[in-house]
């Protein structure tokens, strides 16, 4: 869709082919390319003179036709010039395209495009201050790339005397979504600041037909789509951690600390009678299942006992069977005291329905090889206590482990994007 012309343009005659060349940038245009013979003309003196003969190199088709208008920040700019520039690095040539945009009151702006990544570029309004990083307005820009850029192809109007093969030393500094560029030749250094824009925004601004080309790779000042997510995820993780801890503490405090049953028993290993014991029935109260913790303690100094324990429901005979090995030995060896084992053990039975229960205990102790009958036959006193409502601390750590992957993945995605970005940089010290 060609632009609607609202301002009268000036026209000159090409001294090479005699064709008419329109000047949309008025007196600001210092050079223009003849659309017929592609000779570059110098228009700074009012009369057109040949600046460079017709370009022999391959013709490049701009994605935005010259003469079309696009609106940026509410201002309609007209595309009046196009150039292709390139740099050579590591034996490869990298090309990008630049468009000259013009508005009669706002002046010149520029668009650059590389691999589907676009920047809307304005001249700087103040000289950036360089210490280590570059400070401009409110941003701190990290050095990203320096290169020697050459102009390879031009078409349209330019506010400078454009030359094919023109060379500038350029340095880019980034503070996504902004890029600050300095371009220097033997006479001057110019600064410009670019803001990253997507292909979709460009197509929408110019109302271009069709689908915009997809951007490939990560561009220098492309905003990281994962920026802010690692911090937010880790904050959320901290919140969830605190809440899980609060839940754990809450249930620890609400669980009963007094046992619902305690029993003391004596086991005689030498007895010929059955040493098994059952407790009196006790009640597990409540309307829902609960964890039940059963603690066993035995007087096993230099001794041991094996307890096969069952928590049995009086009404259903459903039982939870487990065992405890209680042993405690200590001594002095080479002047160093030692001990092993424990005289008390505990087991948690999960999801026990409320009801009436009893405990059955079957103690056992065998005479070991080389052990005297006297030692092996010592009677052992032991106690069993049942607590209703044990807190499962293990689940807390499982929850924390399950909460960790999202912030770690968010951080990894953010870092991967930045790694891709900085892999294109040829300047050290800027990487994150």
């Amino acid at each position: 869709m060609p632009a609607q012309s609202t301002v009268k343009t000036r026209a000159i005659t090409c001294p090479n082919c005699g064709g008419t060349v329109q000047l949309r940038g008025f007196a600001h245009t210092l050079s223009v390319t003849c659309s017929s013979c592609r000779t570059v003309l110098d228009t700074s003196s009012g009369e057109a003179s040949i600046l460079a003969r017709a370009q022999k190199q391959m013709k490049v088709q701009p994605l935005i036709p010259l003469g079309w208008r696009g609106t940026f920040d509410g201002v309609p700019f007209e595309a009046i010039g196009f150039e292709q520039r390139y740099i050579q690095a590591d034996g490869e040539t990298f090309c990008w395209q630049e468009y000259v945009l013009f508005h009669p009151y706002k002046g010149f702006r520029y668009l650059s495009e590389y691999n589907g990544h676009w920047n809307f570029i304005s001249p700087t309004v103040a000289l950036p201050q360089k210490i280590i990083y570059v400070h401009y307005e409110h941003g701190v820009y990290k050095p990203f790339q320096k290169a020697v850029a050459r102009t390879g192809f031009v078409i349209g109007e330019f506010p400078w005397r454009v030359c094919i093969g023109e060379t500038v030393h350029m340095v880019d500094y980034i503070d996504p979504p902004y890029i600050l560029s300095s371009e220097s030749n033997s006479n001057e250094t110019t600064w410009s600041v670019g803001r990253y824009v997507t292909s979709d925004e460009i197509w929408k601004a110019f109302k271009l037909p069709g689908e915009p080309p997809k951007a490939s790779g990560v561009y220098a000042n492309q905003p990281n789509p994962h920026a802010g997510k690692p911090g937010a995820s880790f904050k959320l993780f901290g919140l969830f951690f605190a809440l899980a801890l609060a839940i754990l503490i809450f249930f620890s405090m609400t669980h009963k600390s007094t046992p619902v049953f305690t029993g003391s028993y004596k086991f005689d290993p030498t007895a010929q009678t059955d040493q098994s014991a059952v407790s009196q029935p006790f009640e597990l109260t409540g309307s829902h299942t609960s964890a039940v913790h059963i603690e066993s303690r035995a007087a096993v100094n230099q001794n041991w006992v094996y307890l096969a324990i069952a928590l049995v429901n009086v009404d259903t005979n459903e039982s939870y069977d487990f065992s405890e090995m209680l042993s405690y030995y200590s001594g002095v060896d080479g002047g160093e005291s030692w001990s092993e084992g424990s005289a008390n053990q505990g087991t948690t039975v999960h999801r026990v329905p409320p009801g009436r229960y009893y405990i059955r205990i079957d103690p056992d102790r065998e005479k070991e090889a080389g052990e005297s009958a006297l030692l092996a036959g010592r009677p052992i006193e032991y106690k069993v206590a049942v607590f209703q409502g044990a807190t499962n601390v293990g689940l807390f750590f499982i929850v924390i482990l399950l909460l960790l992957p999202p912030p770690i993945i968010a951080w990894w995605r953010y870092k991967r994007f930045e790694t891709q970005r900085w892999s294109e940089s040829d300047m050290s010290g800027g990487g994150e």
Binding site: A232, F240, D274, S276, A308, S319, S323, H350, Y358, R360
Partner: protein
């Protein structure tokens, strides 16, 4: 909200964690066994736990 999926996922985990603590849920521990003889209380030695503890020792029913 920058992490809606993580917010939902974390909230669900906390909900499950609270419910697990409330109901006494756990992954490990003794499992319920049905079919125990009704005479255990009267004669506790008539049934031995199926849980074998001492290595090499026969712990079957007496």
């Amino acid at each position: 909200m920058k992490s809606p999926i993580f917010t939902a996922y974390g909230s669900l985990l906390l909900l499950l964690f609270g419910a697990a603590q409330y109901t006494g849920f756990g992954f490990m521990g003794p499992q319920p066994a049905k079919g125990g003889p009704k005479t255990i209380r009267d004669n506790p030695g008539a049934s031995r736990s199926h849980y074998g503890g001492i290595p090499g020792r026969y712990v079957g029913g007496k």
